[in-house]
Subunit: 220 residues, 2 copies
């Protein structure tokens, strides 16, 4: 095993360190965040930092760099208080990556990447039609992280669009069946293969595989 | 596509909603956080909320429930200001899941799950020997999220242990080659298959696959 100490870490070229540090948190979710600005121009951007915060209330957060007038997603969310999160799947992962190019505010990533905006009445932010699991959020809070001037943007989920077949009896959504992909590092994309769901962990016995529906399996 | 509106969401049984909302953020990283309390008892707990915050300084965060005297990881980090994050791989994913059982503070998850503590001089927190990519952190800040009383715990990376073969020329770490696994929902575990790394996105051309080393591929 190779040990990289603090001094070696601090002396790395910045791009090299960015690649390495981005690999450390493990596999990251791949989501497109859809927003709309006050002039009605849709924006779409890939984020790998979407994180579950809680189920009741249903809160999801993501990390963004500071607002410097060039963060269209953040600007738009501040304006409209709404956004959508759309899971990226195997059918459009390259188009999703392309949304990270530095388009101007008046350029629409949907048009540039051939993804399709999907509008639902009452929600002032576009969904991605090609996404098979997506949801609308209302801005709750933007929490500054002074250490590196990033921000944690927190939304409350107000509606979910999902393929019926993927929704299992206990509420679990089989995102593998939706071909949802994930990211490692800054630019590597991956599909998944399920090992198993596992039973709720208890101190007096080992966890056992359970079915996709969350029920116990016979003969295990 | 099935649409779940806000009212349906609010009226769901809480366990059903927990399963569903936990599926929405996409695939989640699987990491074991190692800590040590003031009496020298090691603690190990699985977290699916580890998130990259920045490369310079090298900051990683994770979400934890509030400190109620029963959050051993948080208690220990407050005491020692140190912790380790250890990527979970295919060789010990069931043991990693088992660390989520409600052991008492005087019970050591390493012993209960047959994982092996690895101690490195100068770091007052145990690594998981079986992990193939792991790092030490010093507590920087604990940011409260008043909306649901969770906390964002932020550490600065001070040292990294990684298998040399997985470290690529541009700093990217091939975590797929380390058999790092991921989580969906609350209890489903998955391995990965790489689609590709992609070139840096630019507005005037489409991204193309690049090699594992981050270099351009011929004939693409």
């Amino acid at each position: 095993m190779h040990y990289i100490d603090n001094e070696e870490l601090l002396n790395m070229p910045s791009r090299y360190r960015a690649q390495m540090i981005n690999s450390l948190s493990g596999f990251k979710s791949a989501n497109l965040i859809g927003t709309c600005n006050k002039n009605g121009i849709n924006n779409l951007a890939i984020f790998s930092s979407v994180v579950h915060l809680g189920a009741s209330p249903a809160l999801v957060g993501f990390i963004t760099r500071p607002d410097n007038g060039e963060r269209h997603t953040l600007d738009n969310i501040k304006q409209t208080k709404q956004f959508t999160i759309n899971q990226v799947n195997e059918e459009f992962w390259q188009a999703a990556h392309q949304t990270s190019a530095r388009y101007n505010a008046d350029q629409c990533e949907f048009e540039k990447t051939d993804l399709t905006p999907q509008i639902i009445e009452g929600i002032n932010a576009p969904f991605v039609k090609e996404s098979r699991l997506k949801y609308a959020l209302t801005l709750q809070e933007i929490i500054p992280i002074p250490l590196n001037k990033t921000l944690l943007v927190i939304g409350k989920i107000t509606g979910i669009i999902c393929e019926q077949e993927a929704l299992k009896k206990d509420g679990y959504i089989d995102i593998e069946s939706l071909n949802t992909i994930m990211i490692s590092g800054l630019d590597s994309y991956h599909t998944s293969t399920r090992l198993s769901r596992l039973s709720y962990a208890k101190t007096d016995k080992k966890p056992v595989p359970i079915s996709l529906n969350g029920t116990s399996l016979k003969n295990t």
